[in-house]
């Protein structure tokens, strides 16, 4: 198991290294002169030169990459191109905290809800309950999250006025206020993911319920509820965990859209701003973070998979 863990951490590091290179290469391949793009067409040559010197853009690309990577590892993520040149790291990490709250809330909704719906649908296979859950989960999977977001804003913020339509985060906000802010965006993200996870749970539960060990457990005289939760669900969770991990990866990208719909100050909206401003250091930092979370979620899911599955854990 330790060996497995070391190997997985090694692959994680390798993934990050490769993707960081790709991200750096791609952002530097953007057409046009970065300094001119940022400073505008009318900027003087001296201003351009100053800018390039200041951000190290006059050096060869590989040197730039090495410096950027070295800086990234040593917690110096460079400086933003925008006015005042704030440090990228504190800027991004501040926003990341907000996004993590949003993602966390989303998972708190998604995991219990989809497991419950999936198990329910599998136990009632072929019934009305099953059909309703299946149709509903398929339809929300199909809806783009800006549509569900706008519908939710319309109904719950504009019509009913229960939640704010847009997000203002102040320091030392009380927990209740946070919840009010997070509800609609988290719900939007949840709707998109719940469908997938529900269907996966249903499918793997159906598969497990057909296996002979469920019959063995039933014929031990154990109450049905225990057979379902202590025996079948435990094994059905294995494939479901992988899907949840994939959704976390998706969530980090999906936040870009959702945060913009709700004007939520997270890394998603920061990313969009960075793109429009050609703010490469911010763009690169956020991209690497998104890749990191994607890979990390997969690592966690594999470890959980191994933990729940003695066949892997003990080999």
């Amino acid at each position: 198991m330790t060996r497995y863990l070391i190997r997985r951490l090694f692959t994680l590091a390798l993934t990050l290294l490769v993707t960081s290179f790709i991200i750096f290469a791609l952002t530097n391949l953007l057409p046009g002169d970065v300094a001119r793009l940022v400073l505008g067409r009318d900027a003087s040559d001296t201003a351009i030169e100053n800018f390039e010197q200041r951000f190290g853009l006059d050096r060869p690309p590989l040197v730039q990459y090495a410096q950027w990577l070295g800086g990234f590892i040593t917690a110096d993520w460079g400086r933003s191109y925008t006015a005042g040149s704030p440090a990228v790291r504190s800027l991004v990490l501040g926003r990341l905290g907000n996004s993590m709250r949003l993602a966390g809330t989303t998972l708190l909704i998604v995991i219990p809800l989809s497991l419950l719906l999936g198990v329910l649908a599998s136990l009632r296979e072929g019934s009305w309950t099953d059909s309703i859950i299946s149709v509903a989960s398929l339809s929300v999977v199909g809806l783009p999250e800006f549509v569900t977001g706008i519908v939710l804003i319309n109904v719950f913020a504009l019509q009913l006025g229960w939640f704010p339509a847009s997000t203002y985060i102040s320091n030392n906000m009380p927990f209740g206020e946070w919840m009010r802010l997070l509800t609609l965006p988290a719900l939007t993200a949840s709707l998109a993911i719940t469908g997938y996870v529900t269907r996966m749970t249903r499918a793997s539960m159906l598969e497990e319920l057909k296996k002979p060990y469920v019959r063995t457990a039933t014929l031990k005289g154990i109450p049905y509820r225990r057979v379902i939760f202590a025996h079948a669900l435990r094994n059905a969770l294995l494939p479901t965990i992988a899907v949840i991990a994939l959704s976390i990866g998706w969530l980090m990208g999906g936040l870009v859209v959702i945060e913009n719909v709700f004007n939520f100050p997270g890394i998603g909206s920061l990313l969009v701003t960075a793109v429009t401003q050609k703010n490469l250091p911010v763009l690169q930092a956020i991209s690497v973070l998104i890749v990191f979370f994607y890979a990390f979620a997969n690592l966690i899911s594999d470890l959980l998979f191994a933990l729940l599955n003695p066949r892997i854990r003990l080999s």
């Binding site: 014929l219 154990i222 435990r234 094994n235 003990l314």
Partner: protein, 701 residues
């Protein structure tokens, strides 16, 4: 006579197919008396498992009991509420299922799964439940129960898991144990040990048992009373001795006489039951067996015979049972037409020298951390020769490497070392380097025709494709069609099968098509890997006869591979026995079967259950299980289980190959003479194997 433990009265069970309910089991009456082991025999689709599980009120989701009562003591199980039946399940009624690997929860320790039963049905502490589980494991001869309890199912071998299931089923002192094909997935030598254990324990616990099986051999060895099912109805029931010695129903007689046996004369044909089993729900008011019965009269086709109680504890459902019992008519006469055997010529069609095949565990990503390579030596220095127009039989248990050997010969996997000669010409070990003539002359019949026939091609397309691809001269469409029809007739299928697709064929018919395809390019050698193991015994007999007929007609030779000693012995001129990738004994059929020399062959032969309750023999119990090929014991591969082990020499030195004047060959440290004199003194007593060793092996699996 005492009250039965459980009895079903007029039990009918339906299955839902689409929107309709089809009757699968019709008016079954079944009683199991105290201390009785009641056998329920039938071929696939006879409803035997459905009945057994319905009797303990466990039904598939698409099944229902449409009629009948199930009395368990005073109570009708059908009337009980869920909570009440749960109190009985696992406590008074238990199940030992067929597929043990999947019948234990893969992610829970054995201790948890065993104590769960005890704690559900009695108020004991966790420690007491654990002790109880350990005792139960001791009773199934597991020497170190704590070790087993701490393991997960995948860390145990098949035989060990089945012991756990048996221990669990008997740990609550049940009144009824349902045994649903409990040894079907096990090797013969393991099966022998498990059956012994079951018989002793059931008697010891004073339980009654319902034993469901398709295998008449194990039924004869285990049961006291037998009920024979066909198409969801009881055909006959009788005490085991009477059923096997004086069967009264034509179906029972057919089933018993279509079994190949090692005593069978090589030249005789097996009796076959023509036709296919009646389809579900298609039961009219006639006798369900009438279509396949050679004695059927007009009466049999117009009215259904009742299940008649003939006194003497027997029942039979046949209009003509009195005539059969009196001996005035016989349904399945031994067929007069013998198989024309062509004497094997003394030329070699296949010569294999020192073939070895090792499978290494490949890693997709080369890793810096783990560079240790492990693997399986599947085939090890195998040499064999097949004479022209003869059959070479290869027997072995799972993990013996028999299939890997076949695949190496066919170049489906590439052997590492060794050489193969086909008709005197060396052929390549690599499939891509084999020429057309080699492919034409070396054909195969796979085990499972469901997987080996393309479902989208018609029978005609399948066979003519092989034919046209491999024929020496280009073959016109018309000539090909004629040849295919000829082949279909040779395997006993009519011309109209030409346009059918596999989905519309029965298992036996599919295997006939697969055989026709193998013979299409007129090969010199056909390799058949378990050609009948997915078929019912009545169909198996047809296929075995067909294989014999074709050998004579087409002048081909066979390599037949099977775990079933009877099948191999019925077909073969020469037999080789494999163990952990090596041939441990080979020789002429009669020499190997009647004078087995190697201790493994001796044990294997003694373990095969004879379908005759009069011959209740105690098999030679081999200690432990077949070691994983991953962890092959040093010296002689059989030394960990050998009941005639000499000592350290077996652990350190590979045994020499010994050949006697008849060409009989063994790999053993003993000579032929030494083995013969030991055998004449009686069966060996098994050495007590150390538990650590066995667990070590289980761990390494």
């Amino acid at each position: 006579m005492s009250e039965p433990v459980i009895s079903a009265k007029d039990l009918s069970i339906d299955y839902r197919i689409g929107r309709d309910w089809m009757q699968a089991v019709r008016s079954v009456d079944l009683s199991i008396n105290p201390l009785q082991i009641h056998g329920l025999v039938g071929e696939s689709g006879s409803g035997k498992s459905t009945i057994a599980l319905a009797m303990i009120r466990h039904l598939a989701r698409n099944a229902r009991i449409s009629e009948g009562r199930i009395l368990f003591g005073e109570r009708d199980l059908r009337q009980l509420r869920q909570r009440e039946i749960e109190d009985i399940w696992g406590n008074q009624i238990t199940l030992v299922p067929q597929n043990t690997m999947d019948s234990l929860n893969p992610s829970l320790r054995i201790s948890r799964q065993m104590t769960e039963v005890t704690r559900r049905h009695s108020s004991v502490s966790a420690t007491e439940a654990y002790e109880h589980a350990a005792d139960a494991l001791r009773s199934v001869q597991i020497a170190d129960p704590e070790q087993v309890l701490s393991r997960y199912p995948h860390q145990l071998s098949g035989g060990m898991m089945q012991r756990v299931m048996i221990a669990m089923a008997l740990s609550t002192r049940p009144r009824l144990v349902v045994l649903d094909e409990p040894t079907t997935a096990l090797d013969v030598t393991t099966q022998a040990v498990i059956l012994d254990l079951l018989r002793d324990l059931i008697k010891e616990e004073q339980a009654a048992a319902l034993y469901v099986s398709h295998d008449l051999g194990t039924v004869a060895q285990l049961c006291d009373y037998v009920t024979v099912l066909y198409a969801g109805e009881i055909m006959e029931s009788a005490p085991v001795d009477e059923l096997f010695s004086q069967p009264r129903h034509p179906y029972t007689i057919g089933l018993l006489s279509c079994l190949p046996s090692t005593a069978e004369e090589q030249e005789s044909r097996l009796t076959t039951i023509s036709g296919v089993a009646a389809a579900l729900g298609a039961r009219s008011s006639s006798c369900v067996f009438a279509d396949r019965c050679p004695l059927a009269t007009a009466q049999c086709r117009t009215s259904k015979p009742p299940l008649e109680d003939t006194g003497d504890h027997r029942n039979v459902r046949c209009w003509r049972w009195r005539e059969i019992a009196a001996g005035t008519i016989t349904p399945f006469e031994p067929t007069a037409r013998n198989i024309t055997s062509s004497a094997p010529r003394h030329s070699r069609v296949l010569q294999v020298r020192e073939i070895s095949k090792r499978f290494d565990d490949s890693r997709v990503l080369p890793s810096l951390v783990n560079r240790r390579t492990s693997g399986v030596q599947a085939v090890r220095d195998v040499s064999l020769a097949v004479d022209t127009r003869s059959t070479f039989g290869l027997v072995g248990e799972s993990g013996s490497g028999k299939t890997s050997l076949a695949r190496s010969l066919l170049a489906l996997v590439e052997a590492d070392t060794g050489s193969i000669e086909l008709r005197g010409e060396p052929i390549s070990l690599t499939l891509k380097r084999r020429d057309r003539a080699t492919l034409q002359n070396l054909r195969t019949v796979f085990q499972n025709p469901d997987d080996s026939l393309n479902p989208y091609r018609t029978v005609g397309q399948t066979i003519s494709r092989t034919l046209r691809k491999l024929s020496a001269e280009p073959l016109g469409a018309k000539a090909a069609r004629e040849r295919v029809k000829e082949l279909l007739r040779a395997v006993g299928l009519t011309d109209d099968y030409y346009h059918r697709r596999p989905a519309f064929l029965s298992g036996g018919e599919k295997q006939r098509v697969a055989i026709a395809r193998a013979f299409a390019p007129a090969p010199a050698l056909v390799i058949a890997d378990e050609p009948t193991s997915s078929l019912d015994v009545s169909v198996q007999a047809v296929i075995l006869n067909l294989l014999k007929d074709l050998r004579a007609a087409e002048g081909a030779s066979y390599v037949v591979i099977s775990h079933d000693l009877e099948v191999v012995s019925y077909l073969s001129d020469h037999i080789a026995v494999m163990y952990l990738g090596e041939i441990v004994e080979q020789g002429a059929n009669k020499d190997v079967i009647h004078f087995p020399s190697h201790p493994y062959t001796e044990a294997l032969l003694s373990a095969a259950p004879t379908p005759d309750p009069a011959v209740r023999h105690r098999p030679i119990a081999l200690s432990g299980e077949v070691p994983s090929p991953r962890n092959r014991p040093p010296g002689c591969p059989f030394q960990t289980r050998c009941p005639r082990k000499i000592g350290t020499v077996c652990e350190t030195d590979a045994p020499p190959v010994r050949t006697n004047e008849d060409g009989h060959e063994i790999r053993c440290h003993y000579t032929f003479e030494e083995l013969e004199s030991m055998q004449s003194k009686g069966p060996p007593t098994p050495p007590q194997e150390k538990t650590e060793q066995r667990l070590q092996r289980a761990e390494n699996k």
